[in-house]
Point group: C2
Chain length 211, copies 2
C-alpha cells in the first residue's frame, strides 16, 4: 500500500489559511487534519485530541527532547507544535493528512518531510498584490519601496514550495488544492510503485504454480 | 504572460485514449486539440484543419525535411504527424493544448518538448491488469510468463511520463486529467514567474515616478 500524502498549507499571515483549510476539510471529510500539541489551557468546548493535544510544559519539553515534534514555536508564553507520531501513523495507514501552519513552521516540517506537498496560499490576485503595495497612489516612494522589498522577500520564501494557490474565492482555492491532491496521487512514481508490487506478486504466484 | 501547457495523453493501444480525449474536450472546450497532418485522403465529412491537416506526400516529406513535425509515423501506406507550428502558436498565446498519441510518438514529442505534461492512461485497475495477464486460470505458465514480460515492458515505458491515470470510468479518468492540468497551472515555478514579472513592473513604475 502506498503511504498517504502530507499536505502542508502555508502562506503569509492574514492570507486566509485557516478559512481555506476549514472549508477544504468540509469538502474532503476523508482528509485527516494534523492536530497540534499546546501548553495553553483548553478553552470552553475544546476537546483534547480534536482541537489540540493539551500538554503540560514538562510534557511538551519532553516531546522536544525526544524529537517527537516536527516543529514547535513559542507564542505569547505558550508552546505549540506538530506531533510527529500522529502524522507518521496516518501516512502509514495510507491516509492523507493536512497541516495548516505559518511559513517558518512549514520550512521546519520540510526539513523532516521533504516528500510532503507544500502549498503556498497567495492573496486574491496580482491586482490585489499591487494595491497592497502601491496603495491609493498617494503613498511616498519610500513607503512603496519598503512594501516592494517585503513582497520580494515573501516571494523568495515561495522557493521552498511545490505549488502556489491564489485565494481569490474560498471555493476556487479549495478546488485548486483538491486538484493538487488528486494530481499528486496520479504522479507516475506513486502508481508505478503499486504496479510493480502487483507484477511482482503475479510473477511470484506464476513461478509458485510451477512446483 | 505564461505559456500554455502541452498535455500529451498516451498509453498502450486499446486502453481508450481516443474516448477519454474526446470526453475531456467536451468538458473543457477551452482546451485546444492538436490536429495531426496526414497524407491519407479526407473521408466524407472530414474538414481540413479540424479533423486533420490534409497534405500531399510531397508536402508531408517537405515538412519532415524542414523539421516542421514534432513526430511522424507511417501507417498502412499513409503518413501521420504532429505539426510543430500549431502547437507552438497555441502555447505562445497562453492556451493549453492536448495531443493524443501512441507511446512511440509521445516519446519523440518528449525529446522536443521535455516541458510537456506527459500522462499515461492505464487499464481500469490492477485487478484488470491481473486478469489480462493471468486469464481465467487455465493458461499455460509460458503464456502467462510472456504476458508478464510484455506488461513489465509497458510499465518501463511509464518511466518517461509525469502522471499515470487509471481508465476505470471515463468521467473519473477525465476528472483526474482535469485535476492534473489545474495542478500544473498551480506549480510554484509558473506562478512565481507571473509574480516576479508583476513586481518588476511595479518596481520600474515606482522608480519612474521619482523623475
Amino acid at each position: 500500500m502506498n503511504r498517504g500524502l502530507l499536505i502542508v498549507l502555508s502562506g503569509p499571515s492574514g492570507v486566509g489559511k485557516g478559512t481555506v483549510c476549514a472549508a477544504l476539510r468540509r469538502k474532503m471529510p476523508e482528509l485527516i487534519y494534523s492536530v497540534s500539541a499546546t501548553t495553553r489551557a483548553p478553552r470552553a468546548g475544546e476537546v483534547d485530541g480534536v482541537n489540540y493535544f493539551f500538554k503540560t510544559k514538562e510534557q511538551f519539553l519532553d516531546m522536544i527532547a525526544r524529537d517527537a515534534l516536527l516543529e514547535h514555536a513559542e507564542y505569547v508564553g505558550n508552546y505549540y507544535g506538530t506531533p510527529r507520531e500522529f502524522v507518521e501513523k496516518t501516512l502509514s495507514e495510507g491516509k492523507d493528512i493536512i497541516l495548516e501552519i505559518e511559513v517558518q513552521g512549514a520550512l521546519k516540517v520540510k526539513e523532516k518531510f521533504p516528500e510532503g506537498v507544500f502549498v503556498f496560499l497567495l492573496p486574491p490576485s496580482l491586482g490585489e498584490l499591487e494595491s497592497r503595495i502601491v496603495g491609493r497612489g498617494t503613498e511616498s516612494k519610500d513607503k512603496i519601496d519598503h512594501r516592494l522589498s517585503v513582497a520580494v522577500e515573501e516571494m523568495n520564501l515561495l522557493n521552498k514550495y511545490d505549488y502556489a494557490v491564489f485565494n481569490d474565492e474560498i471555493d476556487l482555492a479549495c478546488g485548486r488544492i483538491q486538484a493538487i491532491i488528486t494530481a499528486e496521487h496520479c504522479k507516475r512514481e506513486r502508481i508505478q510503485h503499486e504496479l510493480f508490487d502487483e507484477l511482482k506478486s503475479l510473477t511470484a504466484a506464476n513461478n509458485g504454480s510451477e512446483r
